[in-house]
Symmetry: C2
Subunit: 101 residues, 2 copies
DNA sequence: TCATTTGTTCGAGATTTTCGAAACAAAGAA
DNA sequence: TTCTTTGTTTCGAAAATCTCGAACAAATGA
């Protein structure tokens, strides 16, 4: 597994962030990372195909939402909360507070 | 011009809201309605085709972001701020505060 | 070395988005 | 009534996205 691309959050637009979170699967991933802390892709597995999940993670990474580091055969994902808070003050807190319908 | 459909904001999901705002044109429309108050579609006109703009408004309406009322030959659009605030406390305020890059 | 686990990448089909152009609808003005 | 304005809807085509299975890559374990 190659190292993956992670953009500088400072260069991510608000529209990109909202686009990434504007999908039920991706929003749930972000919520769970916030609540349950970092974890592997498989632990977050929803009812979508493996390749689809990987695709969602790619979009989340490219929007600066998620950081993925290698660990053995796994990839551990975490929310880039502190950086997002600096770039978009209050946004993630508001979204996460509201997230549980 | 027919009357248009406006959903009950209580039935809109957070993912739908973020999806609607996760487009540069639609995000800008929401920002301008918040800052400048209600206005017609033509006043908000960006550099997109008329039909595309109409399409964006439809998505914003169906996500509960915008209310459009008839007034003569025009349609006056406004942010459903109070209802959004009730449904998603703090979210719109955070987004609008951050919106100007 | 060989098999397993965990994800990524590729390829293809289905859906969605975007656009311009044209047709249409409703209200106002000439 | 006829013309103008404003915006919606439909059409067709190009571009982007979503989803899945299959193939691939890297690390671990037997």
């Amino acid at each position: 597994m190659r190292e993956l691309f992670h953009p500088d959050v400072q260069q991510v637009s608000l529209a990109s962030l909202l686009y990434a979170l504007g999908d039920p699967v991706r929003l749930e991933i972000a919520q769970r990372l916030a609540r349950e802390g970092e974890q592997s892709c498989s632990a977050l597995c929803c009812d979508v195909a493996k390749s689809t999940l990987s695709h969602h993670f790619k979009i989340l990474r490219e929007a600066g939402v998620v950081y993925s580091r290698k660990e053995g055969t796994q990839r551990i994902n975490s929310l880039r909360k502190a950086e997002l808070d600096q770039r978009f003050p209050g946004v993630m807190d508001a979204l996460l507070a509201v997230a549980d319908n």
